[in-house]
């Protein structure tokens, strides 16, 4: 596999190193001269100096071959967006992964069709949700392309679904219970599964169905 990594910061350098250890062909593009020199000590000829949003720099890195994958992981979202668009639309790169630095820019990546994306801030927030009791509904996994998400909800004493079976709850189309964890044991949810206080429930749903599902499970 041939990969071009644009952005040689902590993320880019580590991705480059890992790909090298896996014996994959990789080139890393870095704009800042001091940083590029530093990278060169470790990665040698695999480093290309220059602005990875300039076409001639990308071409020097070998984008016309084209690479199997481009990884846009600079610290600027506008740069990652442009690198991704140019790679895919101008050079026909099949797979592009982009980093989202500011979660508020995620809608721009979605709007411009840049996917998949990785947003470390969003990931950390999702993990915090899991630990903070105020979050009664935790997003475990977002499947953007499939337009589905997996959520976790803990059923409490006030929940309107207590003592009722899954088939009676009337989940909307586009949503389904997956499993129930009770006393540390997980069970696949079936129609006859009756929900109890303290149950941890996993559900898969279209993001638009979240309010309805929350209402059924938590009553709020």
């Amino acid at each position: 596999m041939f990969a071009i990594v644009v952005g040689g910061g902590k993320v880019g350098a580590n991705v480059t190193r890992s790909l090298m250890e896996l014996d994959q062909e990789v080139v890393v593009v870095e704009n800042k001269p001091t940083r590029a020199d530093h990278l060169e000590e470790e990665f040698g000829h695999r480093v290309v100096h220059g602005d990875g949003t300039e076409l001639y720099v990308l071409e020097r890195a070998g984008i016309t071959r084209p690479p199997d994958i481009v990884v846009a992981v600079t610290g600027d979202d506008e740069d990652n967006l442009v690198i991704s668009q140019l790679s895919r639309e101008r050079y026909g790169v099949k797979k592009v992964i982009a980093r989202v630095n500011d979660p508020r820019n995620q809608p721009h990546f979605d709007l411009l069709g840049v996917t998949p994306t990785v947003c470390p801030t969003q990931r950390i927030l999702a993990l915090i949700e899991h630990e903070v009791p105020e979050f009664d509904l935790v997003h475990l996994l977002e499947l953007r392309n499939e337009n589905l998400e997996i959520i976790e909800v803990e059923i409490d004493r006030k929940s309107p679904c207590l003592g009722r079976s899954v088939e009676d709850l009337g989940f909307p189309t586009g949503s389904r219970l997956i499993s129930v964890v009770r006393d540390g044991t997980a069970e696949i949810a079936v129609g006859a599964t009756v929900l109890r206080d303290g149950d941890q429930v996993l559900a898969i749903l279209e993001p638009g169905k979240e309010t309805e599902v929350r209402k059924i499970l938590l009553g709020r």
Partner: protein, 136 residues
Amino acid sequence: MRAIVIGCGRVGATLARTLDEEGWEVTVVELDEDNLSRLGPEWRQPLVLGHGMDAKVLEEAGVEDADVLIAATDGDNTNLVIAQVAIRKYGVAHVAARIQDPARAEAYAGRGFHIISPVKMAIEGLASWALAAGSR
């Protein structure tokens, strides 16, 4: 006409003043408060402090009712993203972006927004001057 000018550098500020003199409603979006002085002491039209890629900032500037949006920050990629968001998310009828790099200007041509490349204009101007001078 209602226009939004993103970026209040030399280009953005002068452009905003020109449109203002023509009687347009002009809202200027700028990240750095110090740059707003380029508009001069007489400026009375709305100013929004913030980054032009921030959807909230664009909405505060009235992007939903704007006829014209011009992305004139000093960042080519910022302008490219703002221009595409203005068209595809907000449906602004007339959008232009300033793109210094001629290669990127060419790569993004034909995407529904107007591109002004000052570098390309300088190259073309100087080349035609040189060729004309050489043939005299």
